[in-house]
């Protein structure tokens, strides 16, 4: 792949003036050093990765300007939504004002970005105004494309037996109410779906299935409920050992697995779902080819099935304004859908003054807050290197983590990265990623939210 060029002389002049005072040490020794600069760094998105980057850069840059574009006043701890939808947490626990985390000195623009003109280094805002940048960090997360499922919209969540943990915190609460109503009805068929695209927290659809199974088993009327899992590919999870484990566990718990089906349409009034057969070549990782072929309606082989409860996982992509910009991947598996970055350095593959972090990037795995934790120091180091005219040298390993909840009260601490076919990368020698454990559950229930907030503060 072609390497992006180093920066222009004009860019370097902006940082050059202060280098005698705040010259950076090589990566790994740089954590305390600062860089004097007059550069304007713009961060798009103030979710997990945007705020983490703002916190880190305010500590490292002196004299420059940092602008963060984020319309939301409330910060959502999204990893808590599975706990809300499973009836374990109440919704309020997952929300805090964004202002609590916004570092002092950051210029917070409270509106949506609507365009990126990467050649002229300009961001268009919803109000019609523009912002010019010297360096850009794209951290806008994911767009949920419920509209690609005919008849489906997020407003339907909580009605007609429809649940979906992804839509919002309200959606997660309503998903819990829908599951409760289904359980109270004492019988029926529940269908859990997965999306034919990369999704944030790829474990979440599986966790929702496992926690619902826990509730069904507790009800002592398990045999009156049918549970099906509809997967678009042969895999249920990208990490091979976990994939096998989940398949085996589903079989043991009486979950009927059907592979190569994606949810193509829903009829809420009739409580019917249409699934399109997407063929054995369908895999999460080759989703682009899959989507082109698959979202066409001609020659679609479909099956229609009744349900009493359905958990909908929408197809996901980068936001439209990123897809419509030059920043989107032009070729390869992420083309047209995701931000085009080097998955190790996090630098844009064609625009060296642009970095990506978090869910928005085109990467085979990594759409988790745990990945944000690992990516943020890499983006920080590499941005500062590039600001000084050096090549980015810090590398992201692809680290991602999913506390795979296998039932209410137990979980597996699944941590893995890009290397060796997504081999495990355990953080704690005393926790085996292959074990279901109470301690891992306690981490999910009690410790990961504090750790997430520490990431926002640039402390972890």
């Amino acid at each position: 792949m072609q390497k992006p060029p180093l920066l222009s002389r004009r860019d370097l002049l902006k940082v050059g003036s202060g280098m005698g005072f705040g010259c950076l040490l090589p990566a790994g020794m740089t954590s305390a050093s600062t860089l004097q600069t007059q550069a304007h760094v713009v961060i798009l998105g103030g979710g997990a990765s945007g705020i983490a980057m703002a916190s880190r850069l305010t500590r490292r840059l002196r004299g420059g300007k940092i602008t963060l574009v984020e319309p939301r006043e409330t910060h959502h701890y999204q990893p808590g939504w599975t706990m809300v939808a499973s009836g374990v947490w109440n919704a309020g626990k997952t929300m805090r004002p964004n202002a609590d985390f916004m570092p002092r000195g950051v210029n917070w623009v409270r509106e949506n970005a609507v365009s990126v003109d990467a050649d002229n280094k300009r961001i268009g805002l919803a109000s019609g105004s523009t912002i010019e940048y010297d360096f850009l960090i794209v951290a806008t997360g994911i767009q949920l494309n419920y509209g690609l499922i005919d008849g489906m919209s997020p407003e339907l969540i909580g009605q007609h037996g429809i649940g979906s943990v992804y839509a919002s915190i309200e959606g997660a609460s309503r998903t819990n109410q829908t599951i409760e109503s289904w359980l109270a009805s004492g019988q029926g068929k529940g269908i859990f779906t997965a999306a034919p695209t990369p999704v944030k927290c790829a474990g979440a659809p599986l966790k929702m299935t496992f926690t619902t199974l826990s509730r069904l088993e507790e009800s002592s009327r398990r045999e009156r409920f049918a549970v099906e899992y509809m997967a678009p590919g042969t895999d249920l999870f990208s990490q091979p050992w976990v994939d096998e484990f989940v398949k085996q566990r589903f079989d043991e718990q009486g979950v009927k697995r059907r592979h190569h089906y994606r949810l193509s349409a829903i009829d809420p009034q009739a409580k019917q779902a249409e699934f399109a057969f997407v063929g054995p070549e369908s895999e999460f990782t080759s989703h682009h080819e899959l989507r082109e072929a698959e979202f066409k309606r001609d020659n679609l082989q479909t099956v229609i099935t009744d349900y009493d409860f359905i958990h909908v996982v929408p197809p996901m992509s980068a936001h439209d304004f990123i897809k419509n910009s030059a920043l989107v991947a032009q070729d390869g598996p992420f083309r047209g859908e995701w931000l085009d970055v080097d998955i190790h350095t996090m630098q844009h593959n064609r625009y060296p003054d642009v970095f990506g972090i978090g869910d928005v990037i085109g990467a085979p795995i990594n759409k988790t807050a745990a990945s944000v934790k690992a990516q943020a120091p890499v983006v920080e180091e590499n941005l500062l290197s590039v600001m000084q005219g050096n090549l980015p040298s810090a590398r992201h390993t692809g680290y991602t983590s999913c506390p795979m909840i296998t039932g209410i009260g137990k979980a597996m601490l699944v941590e893995f990265g890009y290397a060796d076919d997504f081999a495990f990368m355990p953080s704690f020698p005393f926790i085996d990623p292959k074990d279901e454990s109470w301690v891992t559950w306690v981490m999910k229930d009690r410790m990961l939210q504090p750790a997430y907030y520490a990431v926002l503060e640039g402390q972890a």
């Binding site: 279901e436 109470w438 301690v439 907030y453």
Partner: protein, 113 residues
């Protein structure tokens, strides 16, 4: 992870329990102060009942600590789970003893007087 990172995580983790920590500290300090002013000495006073009760409260944690974490004892499965739960039991035993020991002294004074 840096020390300040660990500190930040602990601050967020303990924040919801601040009231409990404050109330608990006030209770413990008041009890000790009250007992101390009436001649209590931690090494001198012996109370079999306080020790037995503290052990029972500690052991009872086997049932209610997993429940407090939205789980059950059935999910305590790995060696590390048991190490963590045992540490919890020991901690609860110590906290109980720290409360019950001066309390038993004050009760014995009341009985005598």
């Amino acid at each position: 992870m840096t020390i300040s990172g660990i500190f930040t995580i602990l601050m967020y983790a303990l924040a919801p329990f601040t009231w409990l920590l404050v109330v608990g500290s006030i209770v413990v300090i008041s009890l000790h102060l009250l007992a101390y002013l009436r001649g209590y000495q931690i090494t001198q006073h012996r109370s079999r009942y306080a020790t037995i009760l503290a052990i029972l409260i500690g052991l009872s944690a086997v049932a209610w600590v997993p429940w407090l974490t939205h789980s059950t004892l059935a999910n305590v499965a790995t060696l590390f789970d048991w190490v963590a739960l045992t540490a919890g039991i020991v901690a609860i035993f110590i906290i109980s003893l720290v409360i019950l020991h001066p309390l038993s002294y004050l009760i014995s004074l009341l009985r005598e007087g």
